[in-house]
C-alpha cells in the first residue's frame, strides 16, 4: 500500500483511510482487468468461493457493515432476511442510481475501479445464492454504464463470471440496466418496479424488505455500490479485523462527498466516526472560503436535515452525554442521528454566511417537486406546494404566515407516505423552518398578509366544525 502513488494534486488527505477508493486517482491505474488482477484483484473472490455461503454472510455481520446508500441498515442482517427453504430464484441488485443531491462517490468507483464492484457483487451473489444480478445505473452515467459493460465482458473472459465460476459450480450473470432519469429509482422497491419495466412506483410496506418479495416477486437483495465493494474487503481482511476500523456500531470506512462553500470540495474516504465535521471542513477541505463564516451543513445528502452552525448537539448516553458544537460532530451514523439528522449517503453540503436560506430551501424544494414520483398523495401534492411557497418567499411575494403554512405542509407529508423518499421531501423544509425561521420570515412581507384575507370570511361561518 505504501507504494501506491496518486496523481499529483489528487493525493488523499492524511486523515483519509483509502479502502474502497484505494485506486481512485491512482497513478498508472486504469479500468482494465489486467491492471486490477495485477494489483491482487479477484483474489478475494477466489477466497470467498472456497467458503460456505452462510459463512460469508456471517463475516459481513461480524464486520458490522452498514449500508452506504442512505439508510445505514446492516447489510448482513438484510441478507439474512432471505426466506429459509426458498425455492424461487434469488436476485441481487446493485443500486447505482446515485441520485441523492450532494452525493458523488459511486460514480468514481464505477468509472475508475469497476472490477472492484464486480468482485464485490460476485462474492455477495455467492453468499446469498443469486445467480442473476443487475446493476441499476442512473441514466446520467452513460459512460459508467459502458465501463461496466466492458468490465463484465472482461470478467467473463477470465472466468470470474458466467458458468461454473472458478470451478465452484456456481453460475452468475451480471447485467447492466440503465435508468431513465428519475430520483425515485434509487428507492429500492421503485428501482425493482423500474427493472420490471413499470413506472418506478415504490411498493407499499410490508413487506419491508425485498428479501421477502422483490424482483418478479422473488427474494431480492438490493445494496449500494459502496456497500458491495466493502464486501470484497471484508473477505480480504476478515469481518473481525474489518470491524476494528471506524468506531463501534459505525464500523469501516466510508466516502464523504463534500460540496459547497469550502476551499477544496471533493471526496474523502475516512474511518466512520474517526473524523469530525470540523476536521472535514478545516483540514480536508482547506477551510471555508476567505472571510466567510459557517452557516449550515447538510451532512448526508439533500434529504438529511440541516444542521445550523449556531446550535449545539447533545450526543452520547448516560455518563457519556455531552453537548458539542457542529465542529465536533464525529461523522458517523449514530451521532448524526442523535444530532437530529442522518449520515445518509455521505453527501456533505457546506453552506457559509453568503447563502440565503430561503434560496437554499427553495432549491431543494424544486428538486423534490420535480422528482416526486406522484404515486401517493402527501408527497405528490405537498412537494409542489412547498416549492410554490418558497418560490414566493424567494421572489419577495410571501407573507410571514406562509412560513407557518410551509411547515404545516411538510408535517402533512412526514410519516404518511409510501416510501422514505416521499417523507424525505419534507425533512429539508421541516429543518430549515425549525432552524432558520427568522431568516425565512425576514424574506417575507407582512403587508402581503392582507392580500390573502377575504374580509367577509372573517364574519362568515366558514368553519364547518
Amino acid at each position: 500500500m505504501s507504494q501506491i502513488k496518486y496523481i499529483a494534486g489528487k493525493e488523499p488527505h492524511a486523515k483519509e483511510s483509502r479502502v474502497v477508493f484505494k485506486n481512485v486517482d491512482r497513478e498508472g491505474w486504469d479500468q482494465s482487468i489486467e491492471t486490477y488482477i495485477e494489483d491482487g484483484g479477484y483474489e478475494q473472490q477466489q477466497k470467498a468461493f472456497k467458503m460456505e455461503p452462510g459463512d460469508i454472510t456471517e463475516e459481513v455481520k461480524k464486520a458490522g457493515l452498514r449500508g452506504r446508500g442512505g439508510a445505514g441498515f446492516p447489510a448482513g442482517l438484510k441478507w439474512s432476511f432471505l426466506p429459509p427453504n426458498n425455492d424461487k430464484p434469488v436476485y441481487l441488485i446493485c443500486n447505482a442510481d446515485e441520485s441523492e443531491p450532494g452525493t458523488f462517490k459511486d460514480r468514481y468507483i464505477i468509472h475508475q475501479d469497476p472490477h472492484q464492484l464486480i468482485e464485490g457483487m460476485a462474492i455477495s451473489c455467492y453468499a446469498v445464492g443469486a445467480k442473476l444480478a443487475y446493476i441499476y445505473i442512473r441514466e446520467e452515467f452513460p459512460e459508467g454504464a459502458q465501463i461496466l459493460e466492458t468490465a463484465i465482458e472482461e470478467a467473463h473472459k477470465k472466468g470470474f463470471l458466467g458458468k461454473d465460476i472458478l470451478g465452484s459450480g456456481f453460475d452468475l450473470e451480471i447485467y447492466v440496466h440503465r435508468g431513465a432519469g428519475a430520483y425515485i429509482c434509487g428507492e429500492e422497491t421503485g428501482l425493482i418496479e423500474s427493472l420490471e419495466g413499470k413506472r418506478p412506483y415504490p411498493r407499499i410496506k410490508p413487506p419491508y424488505f425485498p428479501a421477502a418479495m422483490g424482483l418478479y416477486l422473488c427474494p431480492t437483495i438490493v445494496n449500494n455500490v459502496e456497500t458491495l465493494c466493502h464486501v470484497k474487503h471484508i473477505i480480504g481482511s476478515g469481518g473481525e479485523a474489518w470491524s476494528k476500523t471506524g468506531t463501534p456500531n459505525n464500523t469501516g470506512t466510508r466516502i464523504l462527498c463534500v460540496s459547497g462553500d469550502v476551499q477544496k470540495p471533493g471526496y474523502f474516504e475516512v474511518q466512520v466516526g474517526k473524523v469530525t465535521l470540523g476536521e472535514v471542513i478545516n483540514d480536508m477541505c482547506g477551510g471555508l472560503k476567505k472571510g466567510r463564516k459557517l452557516k449550515a451543513v447538510i451532512p448526508g445528502g439533500s434529504s438529511a436535515k440541516v444542521l445550523s452552525a449556531d446550535e449545539t448537539f447533545k450526543v452520547g448516553r448516560g455518563d457519556d452525554e455531552k453537548e458539542i458544537t457542529i465542529w465536533d460532530i464525529p461523522m458517523d451514523f449514530d451521532t448524526l442521528a442523535a444530532c437530529g439528522s442522518m449520515a445518509g449517503s455521505g453527501g456533505v453540503i457546506i453552506m457559509d454566511d453568503s447563502r440565503s436560506m430561503s434560496w437554499v430551501i427553495n432549491n431543494l424544494n424544486n428538486f423534490y417537486a420535480h422528482e416526486s414520483c406522484g404515486q401517493c398523495t402527501p408527497c405528490r401534492e405537498g412537494s409542489l406546494w412547498m416549492k410554490k411557497i418558497t418560490d414566493r418567499v424567494v421572489a419577495g411575494k410571501a407573507a410571514p404566515s406562509d412560513i407557518d403554512q410551509l411547515d404545516a405542509v411538510a408535517r402533512n407529508i412526514d410519516g404518511r407516505t409510501i416510501c422514505a423518499f416521499g417523507e424525505a421531501a419534507s425533512w429539508p423544509t421541516e429543518s430549515f423552518v425549525e432552524k432558520f425561521r427568522d431568516e425565512l420570515v425576514a424574506d417575507t412581507n407582512p403587508e402581503l398578509e392582507e392580500a390573502f384575507v377575504n374580509a367577509e370570511s372573517l364574519t362568515a361561518a366558514v368553519n364547518l366544525k
Partner: protein, 570 residues
Amino acid sequence: MSDEKPDLVDVQIDGEWHQFPKGTRMIEACREAGVEVPHYCYHPKLSSPGNCRMCLVEMGMPPRPRPGDDAPEPDQDGHLPISWMPRPVIACANTVAPNMGIKTTGELTETCREGVMELLLANHPLDCPICDQAGECTLQEFSVEHGKGESNFREQKVKKPKNVDVGPRVRLDDERCIMCSRCIRFTDEIADDPVLGFTDRGSHTTLAVYPGKELANNYSLNTVDICPVGALTSNDFRFQMRVWFMKEVNTIDVNCATGANITVHQREGQIYRITPRQNNDVNSDWMPDSHRLNFHWIHGDDRLTDPLVKNGDSHRITTWQEALATTADKLAGIDGSEIAVIASARMTNEELLMVNRLVKHLDAGHMDTIPRDGESDDYLISADHNPNTNGVKLVLGLDNPGSQLEAIKKGINEGRIKALLCLQENLVEDGGFDAETLGKLDFFLTSYPLANPTADAADVVLPGACWAEKTGTMVNVTGRLQRLNQVVDSPGQTLEPWEIVRDLIQATGGGNGIYSALDIFKQLTEEVSEFADLTWGKVGDLGVPLIETSETIPLIEREKERIAQGIIVG
C-alpha cells in the same frame, strides 16, 4: 386469548374487542365492526396500491419486552396491553394480527385525514357546481366528514388536460383526477385492456390513454362508476340530470342470461342511467356497456301505447275491451289444436305461469319460445341472450325452447294452425317468421313494447310493458332466482304482460283470482316444486340459488381465483 378459535384473531377497534379471521384487511375489519374508514384508492375487487393515504389509522401491537424485562400481563379477558405506534398505517393493505389495536379516531388519525383531504383538494379545480359527480363524490363526502372546512392554498393550481375523449363512451377531466389509479387497475386487472396509465410525475402526474389507443372495451363505463371523483364521466349521462334528483330502483339486467344486478336511476318516469349493483355471485361490481346503455328505446317514439286492431291495410287505435272482445270472437271459431302460442324467454316466471294457464285454458296445440343464442364475451355476457330461459324450462316445461318453431311455421303454411298468439316477442325480426307465413293465419295477435314488422301483420296488437315497467322474477344462467322490479310506469294504456295474459284468459271465458304478480308467485310456489317455500322477501335484492346448472360466469370464476390468491378482498 381465551376462547379464540385458531383461525380467528382478537382485534381492538376504537376500544372494543372483536374477532376476525386471519388475513382480514384492517379496513374490512373496521367495516365489519361498523366503523367506516374513508378511502379513495382501495376497492375490494382490485389490487391495493395504498396510494391515496386516506385510510391511515393509528395502530398498535402488544409491547415487545426487552431482554430481561417481564412479559406484559394479559387482562382478565386475555388481552395484552397495546403499545401504539407513533406512525400511522394504511388500513387498506394491512391485515389484522392477534391483539392488534386500531384507532379510527383520535388526533393522529384525524390529522392524517385532514391533511390528505387538504392535499387532495390543493390542485383540484373545485368546480362542483358544473361537475357531474357532485352529489356522489367522495371528495365532497370526506370534505364534510374529515376536511378542515377551509383551504390555506394560496398558489396557482396545476393546469392539466380537460374534456379529454379517452374513448367513445368515457370522458376525462385530468384536473379533477386524484390519481387513485382505480380505472387503470380496472382496465388492466378486470377488463384485460390496459390502455390507461399515468404520464409525467409529481403533481403533474396525468392520467392518459396510451397514444393510438382508446378506452373502447365493452366494460369502459365501469371506470366511471369506480372513479371516486368527477374525473371520468359518461358521455351518455353527463349533464343529463343532477344525481340527487334521481330515485334509485334495484333490479336486474335482462340483456342476457347472466342477469347482472343493476340499479336504475330515474326521475319522474324517465330513466337517466343504469349502474351495476354488487352481487358477488352474478356480476361482481360490473356490467357491460352494451347492456348498461340499452335503455333509451324505453322512452322512444316507437313505443306501442294503445291496443290496435287491423283496419284494412293498417291498424286503428282501439280500447282494451274491443281488442279483447275481437280476440275472443276470433278464437271462438278455432279449435285448440289449431292454436299456437309463442311466448318469450324475456318474460318473468310469473308471466310464464300465466302463459301456461292460457295454453291449458285454450287447450292450445302448440307452444314455444324464441331462443336468442349468441356468443359469450368470456366476462359477464352469457351466450344465451334471453334473461329467463331457465324460467321457461321450469315454468312452461319446455325442455328445448325453440325446437317447435319450425313445426309451428310448417303448421301455419299447411293450414293446420289457424291462430297464433305471440306474447312479448318479435317473430319477424327475432323468430325467423315472414309476413307471408303470418298472412296465412286466420287470426294473429301480438303483444310487444315496440312497433315492429311483426305487429304489421297482426290482427290485434297489444302494448306490453317492457322490463323496466314490470315486476317479477327470473332464473339466470347459473340457476339463481332474482327479482325484476318496476322502475317506472309504462306509457299510455300499456299493461304488464301478466295482465294481458290474464285478460286474454278472462275474455275467452276463463276466470281466476289473480290481482297482482305476487299472487302468481304464490301459485308458482305451490305448483312448481323448485319454487316451494319461497317468497319475494326471501329472494331479496341479491336473489337465491334455485336450481343447479353446469353454467358458470367467467368473470366471477376469475374473481374467485384472485380472492383465493389474496390479491383482492372480493
